[in-house]
Amino acid sequence: MRMADVTMASPLMIAGLYPRLCAAVVLLAHVSVTSAIQADEIDELIAVIAKAGPQGSGSVAARQSSRRLTKQGIEILPRLLRAMDTPNIVAANWYRSAYESIVSREAAKAEPEFPVAFLQKYARDSKRQGRPRRMVLSLLDKLTPTYRDSILSTLLDDPEFCTDAVDLVLRQGYQALAQGDVEKAKTNFQAAFKYARDVGQLTGAVDRLKAIGVNVNIIERMGFVTRWYLLGPFDAPGRSGFDESFPPEKSVDISASFSGKDGAKIQWKLSQTEDRLGQVDLMQAIAPVKEAVGYAYAELNCPQDQNVQLRCGADDNLSVWLNGEKILARRQWLNGTRLDRFTAPALLKKGKNHLLVKICQGPQHKNPAVPNNWSLQLRFCDETGYAADFESALPKAAR
């Protein structure tokens, strides 16, 4: 036991939040001395588990180590939790297996001795992995039931608890509205809009703000690409379009013209969608056709290199090239365009980025009542869904 774990419990006791910890700290201090000999061994067990990985490798050793850790007392919890703060989910689960046993055993005691101060600090530490933090906060819900609400409003930009925090301020906004306090409601809904990653929360905040006369831009907030050069339709009988390569896949020349479906001359044309969530209806923007292929091309300016997520959907399917590299292709037909259906990692470079999307349109569904949709929706964001930093380098389209 490291002394830091003991001293972290002390401020909490002073605050009187968990009086039973008085006894706990005495015990923990004692344990920190008596188990010092074992400390290296605990660290060794933790280190063995850290090696568990792909293909079941390290499982036998991890199993042995986890079982030995399971037999330890609550005093190893801080070290176990620090170890759990790893992107290696296989190792994390081995640690968790031991954690759950230790916590369960401790909770069954008449006077459990959880290191509450450490747990609270751990739960608040946004630099740690989200999953063990949420697990710890769930434990704290039982130990100190008011703690969650006391910290949530400070976690609006927290990668793990953002959704919970935004949910809280949205509820506070609704309450304020119900009480007639529009200014307070506005503050809450604006905070929700600023921090929300969840689309339902975002659109909820937008709707509420609009209702009280505040307009905000959800397109920029979510990182949709809305300004495109569109080209099509190319002829693609049946479902041949996905595998067939058309000229834009070799190079994009905005001024070029091509022979399209039924021999018609087709050219790139500038288009900007006005859809609330950036969906592009190709039936309107290109042509109401079946068995065809269309292309969308955009240029995006970025102030710096960014590792981002591409999130997109299309009806029927799509392939995406960023700066000449194919970064996503999904063959499935009759998809329906759904927000964020597909994701892929992407690198937006500093300066101008070239984005090309191929959208296939298949045959009419055998049920003629099924609409023959052809559409695209695409955005760039961070892993939590917050817009990447870019702006369109294309000219504005004429309305």
């Binding site: 792909p54 079941g56 079982r67 296989v90 689960n93 297996s97 999904r330 499935q332 009759l334």
Partner: protein
Amino acid sequence: MKTVCNFIVLTSAILCAAAHAENWAGWRGPNRNAVSPEKSIPTTWSENEGVCWRSRLPGTGISSPVIWGDRVFLTSSDGPKQDNLHIICLSRRDGRELWHQRLWGTSPTRYHATKSSMASPTPVTDGKHVFAFFGTGDLFCFDVDGHLIWHRSLASEYGRFENRFAATSSPLLCRDMVIVQCDHYGDSYAVAVDQNTGADRWRIERPDAWLSWSSPQIVPVGDTGKHELLLCGSLKIDGIDPQTGSKLWTVGGMQQECIPTPVFGHGLIYAVSGPGGKSLAIRAGGRGDVSDTHVVWENSRGVPFVPSAILVGDLYYLVDDNGIATCLDAHDGQRVWQKRLPGRYTVSPIGTHQHIYFFNEDGETIVIRANHTKFEQVSRNRINEAVFASPAISQGNLFIRTTKELLCIGPD
């Protein structure tokens, strides 16, 4: 020689399974055909009558309960992203929780608001170990006392899962392997994992496969002593060598997205996918594209999207999602009867050689007499909770998982 040895091992496994026929070891029970050899299974119950015990369950899940001996195994998931996973063991006698493991999933996906979660695949057990697969792309092995043996994060190793209703395919035990079918928007594959070590025995890419939810099935090939693995999805059903993963044959005619698991009997594979698709009866043992040579019959009546079909004796039963129940002659595919049942259906029917149980989403069960050429309803039972998980039969009891609880129906 190796083939002979394998045959002996497999035959032993089958005989072993027969000796424990009172168990319901995985998805759709014995031989994954959903038909229990037991006879005295209750046919009447209600919310308050005939319920031996009920046990509250954490989180959500549509995976079936699995029963081996005096233990019931279940999975569920919860949390804002549904990536908090539960593997639970209850006492078969009284529903008491014997152990409960909580673990994290790697890559949660989208899921249906009411009809799925990350705990849609049914676990499977051989009585020594429990293998649990989740929609997060994680495969776990526990011993039956709840100790974690190994964990495979398939989503970390082979790419995150992309799914709109969450993966549902249930793992299959075959010899000393556990086989998982991972058909999704991303790069689809099937993988056979060593039960003892968790390492891959084989893994095959499925470049032509996209999103499907069907579970793998294993069937004998005539009297050859050989078996074939079936993978259904993306407009076809593939016959695979379970030892190597090599593709043996293909039959077209399935829908783009397939959910039902094929069943086997009379030397035939019965595969179905809808809506708007058809039932196919296929002879195993082909090579290459055998769509024109090995399909014995096909019928497009009453084809479901979600529920799997059931074969009892000479009759093949289907219920579609809207409650149209259809009975076909298993030998020629001719319609025997068709009847509208109340409610909507997600649950796959289960049965004995005497009765077939159709569970609707509202918690109603229509019990009909099996193996009769006329529709004959035996009972209509109601519990007051929604049911989306396919129930199990074991040791004289029915185990029904509702959205909140597991109910044990029948004698104490």
